[in-house]
């Protein structure tokens, strides 16, 4: 059988079947991460299943519940600029706009950003570079982790898509489809918390849409990058203040293999506890382990400072 490398399935069902038939076939939407992983010989796709030829996967529209449905293949640019998103979910628009550069945002999709392969300094590098770190569990199936050398197992590669924090705060759900059926999953349940077995995707399954509930209210999104302006985050903080004593969200993402919520801190925030108490509690609940892009100590200090500022700003927001 003559197998093509670049395949453009006509439907989600077809794409899903092809993926199940060939475990070495990779879904590609924008390709801005996939092509670099391939170049660095971290993945070895035998085939690319190009999703952007499938109709209706990029649409952004209101859905029946008063929320918004974003097709997984909507580009980050389209998400950032869409009036529905800018008006109803400004933090998501901000987060989409915070990714890299216009050129990347014109190709990278929200589905890709959500499913973005977990990243690590010791993983996302060329073969020449990685010779030094040849035992990386994620890169070579080896026995070591260079981020947590004392660990005996597990991978601490980071969830790195900037849109994920706001999506968790908003309470987004994902529409997952395969040739065998479909399901809706809370976005928080999508991340398994390990750098290698990273997403709760079954064989042949793909994200087809992001479902946003009715808009909740205003908050703060901060992407903290200490150096170059195109870079991934040192951390992302998404903060939603409580509305009538409930529903606050404190989400810290890009610092672990899954986005983190400070649940007890949120409870305190809901109850109207003083900002310092909320922040102190939150910092206890956010386990920062990776020194990638800044030491743990540095990240803690800046995160606490930014969270304090954001809570103060949210207090002002509430007063308006």
């Amino acid at each position: 059988m003559n197998r093509s490398f670049f395949v453009s399935p006509a439907s989600v069902g077809e794409a899903s079947r092809m993926s199940q038939e060939n475990p070495q076939a990779f879904f590609m939407a924008g390709g801005t991460d996939l092509l670099v992983l391939r170049k660095n010989k971290l993945i070895h796709p035998q085939a690319i299943l190009y999703l952007r030829g499938i109709p209706d996967l990029a649409e952004i529209r209101r859905d029946a519940n008063g929320g918004v449905r974003i097709g997984a293949c909507a580009t980050l640019h389209a998400v950032a600029k869409h009036p529905l998103i800018q008006k109803g979910y400004p933090l998501l628009a901000q987060a989409a706009l915070a990714v890299a550069s216009p050129q990347i945002r014109n190709k990278a999709t929200i589905g890709g950003n959500i499913c973005l392969n977990s990243r690590c300094w010791f993983y996302n590098r060329s073969p020449f570079w990685r010779v030094e770190y040849s035992e990386c569990r994620k890169a070579t199936g080896g026995t070591r982790c260079y981020v947590l050398p004392q660990s005996h197992k597990g991978c601490f590669a980071l969830q790195s898509g900037d849109t994920v924090g706001p999506l968790v705060a908003i309470g987004a759900k994902l529409h997952l489809v395969s040739s065998r059926g479909e399901r809706i999953l809370d976005i928080e349940d999508f991340y398994l918390g390990d750098g290698i077995r990273y997403l709760a995707l079954r064989s042949g399954e793909m994200v087809t849409a992001v479902l946003l509930p009715e808009p909740k209210g205003r908050g703060t999104f901060i992407k903290f990058r200490s150096q170059n302006n195109l870079d991934f985050a040192t951390f992302n903080l998404t903060l939603l203040p409580p509305q009538e004593g409930r529903g606050s969200r404190i989400v810290v993402s890009s610092v672990a293999s899954k986005p983190l919520r400070a649940l007890k801190a949120e409870a305190l925030f809901d109850q109207g506890a003083p900002g310092k108490e909320v922040v102190d509690q939150a910092m206890k609940e956010i386990p920062l382990v990776s020194f990638v892009r800044g030491s743990v100590e540095f990240k803690k200090q800046v995160l606490a400072a930014r969270m304090t500022e954001a809570i103060a700003a949210a207090g002002n927001l509430l007063k308006e």
């Binding site: 300094w121 060329s126 020449f128 570079w129 010779v131 030094e132 903290f224 200490s226 150096q227 170059n228 302006n229 195109l230 870079d231 800044g294 030491s295 540095f298 200090q301 800046v302 400072a305 930014r306 304090t308």
Partner: protein, 761 residues
């Protein structure tokens, strides 16, 4: 002189059209029939013996045409110019850094080349490695070169004046250590070359070099091929900032591969290779001890300095001499005692990056000067004005300062920045302002041999003029300013003057880009060549018109007789006449600048530079002590580049330097962990971007250099050095925290805040 028509005016670059349409051809854009792709095999080890090297399996890969190692080249050990020779094109029996060249292949395409590299069999035996210069000089440290005990490749000791007396007499002596980091030039175009070793034994090398003349000679030496059989052609070059003056191994490698295969071979660096195996800025460790009087007058400075050279000296051997001298002349310092050590470590070799050590030195010296001012209760601007070098000075090393706008630069900076209202007054807002000053060499004699520039200017029968110069154009504006000079001298419109990129078969020898000398020395040569061409033209015109040459003058491409408003002829007519009359001749003038300078020598006084440029810079910041973020609110620069011939170009140079300065000061670092480079790419190495570019004020002093072409000096490097020191000084003003280590990243700032007593001092 008449009012200038073209020099000092705002004009567009001659190569604008070619570059803005994408038609300008850079080396990577060149294509030749049968051209092969070459790739280098690089050592993955930091320090190892090569036990076994078998390249032959590579030849089995389809599409691979040749593979070479050290055995395929003459056994030449070379250095930079006549400096310390410690390098070979390929490693012979030992690799000394991760990235060291081991072999090379030529193949039909890149994929085949990569596969070929993987097939080459190398057996290494690891040797202990050392990565820190102070560790490398210790007893028992791994030795990189057998003939350099203590890993010291070069040691410079200078003793001028009476430092012991200065220390004894001083009211205050400060002793501080400063550390600066490796950064990469991050030019846009990676190293690339195409080599063609033809059937007649001639090598043609196309590459984006700053130094075609010098490269021709280096290649000749390394390949043992006569200079006349080597032609170096500079393609349009996508930036360099000092790097592309060296003999990169890809040049001889591609030449030898071409000879072996009988086909042209192109080699192009990946961006990652740039970080592993080109020539970044050295990391410096400075132990500075300065003695001053009660009123801030500097009595003397003692310096112990570790220059982390990486695994081979290359041009560092020349650079360390300049680094050990230059910054002693920005202020009047009567006594100097310096011990500078160029130390080998198992990292890639370093090279020149805009400033040639000046940014690092200025960070150390001008940070400390502020600390001294602080202890004496003096304003940092005042202490600089008190000590500033002035026109007419002979400095501690014997350097003669024939023009100097430093005082004007400092005074202007104080005025423009609102210094007096800001300095020391806004700590409650966490805002501060800091300043720094620098000197930069124009021209810089490295050898006793020819150290100047040659040029020809020819006037063609169509009335256009062509400039032949061996100096390079790599974005800095050589083309523009040379065309301006020739157009001014010849009375031609700027559009009628053309210039070629260096081609060693056609353009005459020139020294290259040492110490911002291209406008100065290259410009003098062009002016003289144009002047000679002008004389010949006027003589021919006089013959043609039966007039006296002294009665003729040139304007806008036309020839006028004094007293008559209407032009009598055109330059084209006169040039045509000259060429086609009986015993006709080309109108071609030659010019040379050979600087009347003496080599820099640590043991004696010298006059190594034709002249000197100066600058002062102030930086205003706002510091967030909770996050370490430093917002640069504005930068003021005041630059003495003599008479500014190309204002648009000069502004562009200052602007580019300030952002590079911000990058060096704040965002950029090549991070090594146990000797391994962690971040070999633009993004994670922190390359400054458009949001890092602060509001900028540019001022040029009203200095006219007595010897420069139309009074010009150089501006290409003088605005890069002060930024880091000014920024560090501004942070101190804002929050009372003194940081002596670069970069001033949020993490480093926070650490310093923590160590120095926490926020809110």
């Amino acid at each position: 002189m008449d009012s200038p028509r073209i020099i000092t005016k705002r004009v567009n670059r001659p190569d604008s059209f070619a570059k803005v349409t994408g038609r300008a051809k850079f080396t990577m854009d060149l294509s030749f029939p049968g051209m092969l792709t070459g790739k280098i095999l690089r050592s993955p080890r930091h320090h190892a013996r090569i036990l076994h090297l078998d390249p032959t399996p590579a030849l089995k890969v389809p599409g691979v045409k040749a593979v070479i190692t050290a055995r395929d080249l003459p056994p030449v050990v070379y250095g930079f110019g006549d400096r310390r020779a410690d390098m070979t094109v390929f490693a012979i029996d030992r690799v000394r850094y991760k990235g060291d060249e081991v072999a090379a292949v030529a193949a039909a395409d890149e994929d085949a080349a990569h596969e070929a590299l993987e097939r080459i069999r190398v057996e290494y035996e690891d040797l202990p490695a050392v990565f820190d210069p102070e560790a490398a000089v210790q007893e028992g440290a791994p030795q990189l070169h057998d003939d350099s005990p203590g890993n010291i490749g070069v040691r410079i000791r200078i003793n001028k004046g009476d430092m012991d007396r200065a220390l004894a007499e001083a009211y205050l002596v400060r002793e501080d250590r400063f550390d600066t980091q490796r950064v990469h030039q991050s030019y846009a175009e990676p190293y690339a070359c195409v080599a063609d070793w033809d059937a007649e034994g001639k090598i043609t090398l196309y590459t984006g070099t700053m130094n075609a003349s010098g490269l021709q000679i280096m290649l000749s030496r390394v390949l043992k091929v006569p200079v006349g059989r080597i032609r170096v052609i500079q393609s349009h070059t996508g930036g360099s900032f000092g790097s592309k003056v060296v003999l990169n191994s890809i040049y001889p490698a591609s030449a030898v591969l071409s000879r072996r295969t009988g086909r042209p071979v192109k080699m192009v660096y990946t961006r990652e290779e740039e970080y592993f195996a080109s020539r970044p800025r050295y990391a410096g460790r400075y132990y500075v001890k300065t003695a001053v009087k009660r009123d801030g007058t500097i009595l003397g400075r003692e310096l112990t300095f570790f220059y982390d050279a990486g695994a081979y000296c290359d041009m560092a051997a020349a650079m360390i001499i300049v680094c050990s001298h230059r910054n002693d002349s920005v202020y009047r310092i009567p006594s100097i005692r310096t011990d500078a050590k160029l130390v080998y470590t198992n990292k890639s070799p370093v090279g020149a990056y805009r400033g040639y050590g000046n940014p690092q030195n200025t960070f150390a010296f001008d940070s400390q000067l502020d600390m001294i001012a602080g202890e004496l209760g003096l304003d940092p601007a005042e202490i600089r004005l008190r000590n500033a070098t002035r026109s007419g000075d002979t400095t501690v090393h014997g350097w003669k300062i024939t023009s100097c706008g430093l005082t004007e630069a400092i005074e202007q900076t104080v005025k423009a920045s609102g210094w007096k209202a800001k300095r020391g007054k806004r700590r409650d807002l966490r805002r501060g302002i800091g300043m720094a000053c620098t000197i930069h060499e124009v021209d810089d004699r490295h050898s006793d041999a020819f150290a100047g520039s040659n040029a020809h200017v020819e006037i063609l029968p169509d009335g256009e003029a062509v400039i032949y110069s061996g100096e390079g154009e790599y974005g800095q504006g050589r083309d523009t300013v040379f065309c301006q000079i020739a157009a001014e001298v010849l009375g031609l419109p700027l559009e009628s003057v053309r210039i070629l990129l260096p081609d060693t078969d056609i353009t005459p020898y020139a020294l290259g880009p040492w110490g911002s000398r291209v406008t100065y020395s290259g410009g003098l040569a062009v002016a003289r060549a144009a002047e000679e061409a002008r004389k010949i033209l006027l003589q021919e015109a006089a013959n043609m018109l039966e007039a006296n040459p002294a009665d003729l003058h040139l304007r806008e491409g036309k020839i006028f007789i004094r007293g008559i408003a209407q032009p009598r002829a055109t330059v084209a007519e006169a040039a045509h006449f000259a060429l086609f009359r009986k015993e006709g001749k080309r109108i071609r003038g030659s010019g040379q600048d050979e600087p009347a300078t003496t080599k820099m020598d640590p043991t004696k006084q010298s006059s190594p530079c034709s002249t000197y440029s100066f600058a002062c810079q102030a930086v205003e910041v706002e510091v967030n002590e909770q996050t370490g973020e430093v917002k640069v609110l504005k930068v003021w620069t005041a630059n003495d580049g003599g008479n500014i011939l190309n204002p648009i170009g000069a502004e562009g140079q200052i602007e580019g330097q300030v952002l590079q300065g911000i990058g060096f000061a704040k965002t950029e670092e090549m991070i090594y962990r146990h000797g391994h480079l962690l971040n070999p790419d633009f993004m994670t190495s922190g390359t400054a971007g458009p949001f890092d570019a602060p509001p900028l004020d540019i001022y040029f002093t009203k200095t006219h250099d007595p010897s420069g072409p139309f009074g010009a000096k150089g501006v290409a490097e003088v605005a890069a050095p002060p930024t880091a020191a000014a920024l560090a000084n501004a942070i101190y003003d804002a929050v009372g925290v003194r940081i002596k280590k670069l970069p001033l990243s949020p993490e480093n700032v926070l650490q310093a805040v923590r160590e120095q007593g926490g926020p809110g001092r």
